[in-house]
């Protein structure tokens, strides 16, 4: 579960992820109540997530993490850096 910093160049914002794609969380902002709550909900560096869908107006988005579904606004997802998983299914 260690963070692999060498692949930093392929990191994108969670808010830019396409619907249906899988990714691995790389970094979250260190402070702020949104970041803490995301962490406590299991969104931590190293964990894999799937972008399930966006709400009808495009925001908020729904991700699957640790086997359950979580919503967050794009403004919150902007600060979460993820790395798109190569193995698309």
């Amino acid at each position: 579960m260690a963070v692999d910093d060498n692949r930093g160049e392929s990191a994108v914002k969670l808010s830019q992820l396409a619907v249906g794609s899988k990714a691995i969380v790389r970094a979250l902002p260190p402070q702020g109540s949104a970041a803490l709550r995301l962490r406590e909900m299991g969104v931590l560096p190293g964990v894999s997530i799937t972008l399930v869908r966006a709400a009808p107006f495009g925001d908020p988005i729904e991700i699957q993490v640790r086997g359950y579904n979580l919503t967050l606004r794009k403004s919150e997802a902007e600060h979460v850096m993820v790395e798109i998983s190569k193995a698309e299914t």
């Binding site: 579960m1 979250l28 260190p30 402070q31 702020g32 109540s33 949104a34 970041a35 803490l36 709550r37 995301l38 962490r39 406590e40 909900m41 299991g42 931590l44 560096p45 399930v52 869908r53 709400a55 009808p56 107006f57 495009g58 925001d59 908020p60 729904e62 640790r66 086997g67 359950y68 579904n69 979580l70 919503t71 967050l72 606004r73 403004s75 919150e76």
Partner: protein, 708 residues
């Protein structure tokens, strides 16, 4: 450090008195169902003093029939509190609340289909050093989802009883009761590594908590860990504050870490999840499962960009249809029952002030509120249904973007929607909104949604405004729609304004779980409905009774001679005097003192305006249903100079007045209860009625200026 030997808690301390268990768990893990299964109808709902968090307690019995009390704590994902509800969970478990003794033992309930995330809270709770039981709920659903949980292994790793359970089917309750009856319930022997840079701080804060806050060592350690993840420490009334020494040690560490760039809270959360992942790897055996889950398939329709709206629209239509059609029958029975009770008391008692106080004051006043009870119950039922199926979160998800335009989040949508029927359940449903300021804004604007009590006023005024039966129905419908949209735009406008000014805060978070869809359990939903209704009646009851009696007094005294008509009686009363006194204020709106009496008396509830007009304009037996005689009487009403009183412009202005003005004592009582202060209900009266006056002034004077 945690003691590695499972210590038995001393039998003597618990022997003498009833042991107290706290029930904790994530939202949507079936906690209420388990609580209902354990305690049946032996439940008590109260409030933690000083905060608007519900305190639910119940009694269950051990295998030997000895009573055990159970506190059902609000659902939470973490002990690092963000809302008053979560703060209460944290404070009760840490023994910080003066009003609630620290529970002897803890039952952690988790959703077995989602073990990893659910175990986060359990992990925090096990640190507390209290004997605990872990309940794995929804085992059947976990199995269906292809998860095979090794219960014995989990029990071995944690060192506490782990009970597989299906609370909804009553399975596992007996085993839980047996575990709860155990005298020798062990402490958890689970150990995890506190990251090195933080460990020193934890032991220093722990030492200070033992020394300066007189905490037991284990609790002190748990509290030390928690203090490091509690960022904006939510303090609520009734919780004991930290000692200055401990607080300064904590602040010192945080400052040092900030300088060094150490992400202390993130590291702590990560190390907990690492420990949980290791645990889960040993416990969860996953079967190869392909394809989307049933919930995913439902969501492909329910939150679809097009079908999502159809579903939402359909549910809203069903909600309002059932409120307005189903509620009609019981409302008629209650109306009849209240009238019969009044007549019976009138016949049974000697004439006099006491009899009038009872019949015209108490019975008629409270009856006027109770008549809305069926609507309120149906609304509570629907809200409970939406909540327990999981649809509530979907509605919030769909509506979040729109609600964010005015600075709210999607969770405000359902409470505001419900307020179209009645603001009371709407306001009581705001408890699901975590952010205190968002919740308050929603409470403040909810009564602007045109509720069903405004309908009789609108109908009467539309009838008076468009007297001819030849007026196309479209004009009447259009007027009605105008009133509803005025209220809606008003509510959103004020929400925006409040979020920009007096209740400015960070943009609300929308980090929300979308729980899997579950079949609702009728028993739980009905129990929830009855509990809500009884809370409303108990808490609002005294205020409603008080205002009813006050209004009766105002319309009855000083008394006139016996041969005087009711019309002259009310004119002679304090209410009549008050009507005359406020005439200068309402005359610019086109209202005279007689309308003033109506405004004052309908402070009880808006629909009272219709019956007040009946009394004032001398129409015997004026009814909400048949307004023809009253309509005719209104048309005859004139100003002293001979100008007609109820011109179309005045009727329109009066309707607009009722859109905005705060004319409902039950709402005031509920807002008082939900905000725990008189400040907000009084503010609400001021801003709503002030807006009503101002908008009416503009409409009436503007209308006059252009020749109406």
């Amino acid at each position: 450090m945690l003691n590695t030997n499972p210590r038995m808690d001393s039998a003597q301390t618990i022997d003498r008195r009833t042991p107290v268990y706290a029930l904790v768990g994530n939202p949507n893990c079936g906690k209420s169902t388990l609580f209902n299964a354990l305690t049946g109808l032996k439940q008590k709902v109260g409030n933690y003093p000083g905060v608007t968090v519900e305190k639910k307690t119940g009694t269950t019995y051990s295998q030997h029939g000895r009573p055990i009390s159970v506190i059902d704590l609000p659902g939470t994902y973490s002990l690092a509190a963000r809302s008053p509800d979560e703060a209460v969970v944290r404070d009760v478990l840490l023994g910080r609340r003066i009003d609630t003794a620290q529970p002897d033992r803890i039952i952690c309930i988790v959703d077995a289909t989602n073990l990893e995330r659910n175990l986060y809270l359990v992990h925090q709770v096990l640190d507390l050093g209290r004997p605990a039981i872990l309940v794995l709920n929804m085992m059947d659903l976990a199995l269906a989802a292809g998860l095979n949980l090794r219960v014995a292994r989990l029990e071995h790793e944690l060192g506490i009883p782990v009970i597989p359970c299906e609370a909804a089917n009553g399975k596992g309750i007996l085993e839980l009761r047996l575990a709860m009856s155990r005298m020798d319930l062990p402490l958890s022997r689970h150990q995890w590594d506190i990251p090195a840079p933080i460990a020193t701080a934890v032991s220093e804060i722990q030492a200070s908590l033992i020394e300066n806050d007189s905490k037991q060592p284990l609790i002190a350690r748990a509290e030390a860990l928690l203090l490091l993840t509690d960022q904006d420490v939510v303090r609520v009334a009734g919780s004991t504050p930290l000692s200055p020494v401990t607080a300064s040690i904590l602040a010192g560490w945080k400052k040092r870490w900030e300088g060094q760039g150490v992400d202390w809270s993130g590291t702590l959360v990560a190390s907990r999840y690492d420990a949980i992942s290791q645990l889960c790897a040993q416990v969860i055996l996953r079967n190869a499962k392909t394809g989307p889950s049933p919930s995913d398939r439902i969501d492909q329709v329910v939150v679809h960009p097009l079908w999502g709206w159809v579903v939402l629209g359909g549910i809203m239509t069903a909600l309002f249809l059932s409120i307005f059609t189903l509620a009609e029958y019981p409302m008629n029975w209650i109306d009849g029952g209240v009238a019969a009770l009044g007549t019976w008391v009138k016949g049974a008692m000697a004439p006099g002030d006491l009899r009038d106080l009872l019949t015209d004051g108490a019975i008629a006043g409270v009856g006027g509120i109770v008549v809305f009870l069926p609507q309120i119950l149906i609304l509570f039922f629907f809200l409970g249904l939406l909540e327990s199926t999981g649809y509530m979160a979907r509605a919030a998800f769909i509506m979040d973007r729109l609600m964010s335009r005015v600075g709210l989040n999607g969770k405000s949508f359902i409470p505001l929607l419900g307020s179209y029927a009645c603001a009371i359940p709407g306001i009581m449903a705001t408890r699901t909104i975590e952010d205190t300021k968002d919740r308050l804004v929603t409470i403040l604007v909810a009564p602007l949604m045109s509720c069903s009590a405004r309908l009789p006023v609108y109908l009467l005024m539309i009838a008076a405004l468009l007297p001819s039966d030849r007026v196309p129905v479209g004009a009447k419908v259009g007027l009605m729609l105008l009133m509803y949209s005025l209220g809606t735009f008003g509510a959103f406008g004020f929400a925006w304004l409040f979020k920009k000014t007096i209740l400015k805060g960070e943009p609300p978070l929308m980090i929300m779980e979308l729980p899997p869809y579950r079949l609702p359990r009728l028993k739980d939903v009905l129990l929830h409905m009855l509990e809500r209704a009884s809370v409303f009646l108990r808490r609002a009851g005294t205020i409603i009774l008080g205002i009813s009696i006050l209004l009766w007094f105002l319309t009855t005294y000083p008394k006139s001679a016996d041969n005087v008509t009711p019309q002259a009686r009310i004119a002679h009363s304090y209410a009549g005097m008050a009507g005359r006194a406020i005439e200068p204020v309402i005359q610019p709106l086109g209202f005279d003192w007689r309308i003033g009496i109506g405004l004052i008396s309908s402070f009880a509830a808006r629909e009272v305006f219709v019956s007040s007009m009946g009394v004032i304009f001398g129409v015997e037996d004026s009814q909400v249903k048949n307004t023809t005689p009253l309509r005719a009487a209104l048309r005859q009403a004139h100003w002293p100079g001979g100008a007609p009183l109820f011109t179309p412009l005045v009727c329109l202005t009066l309707m607009i007045y009722y859109v905005f003005a705060m004319q409902c004592m039950s709402t005031i009582a509920v807002v008082k209860r939900e905000t725990n202060t008189w400040r907000w209900p009084l503010f609400q009266i001021a801003y709503m009625t002030g807006t009503a006056w101002f908008v009416c002034l503009v409409v009436y004077q503007g209308g006059r200026a252009v020749g109406f």
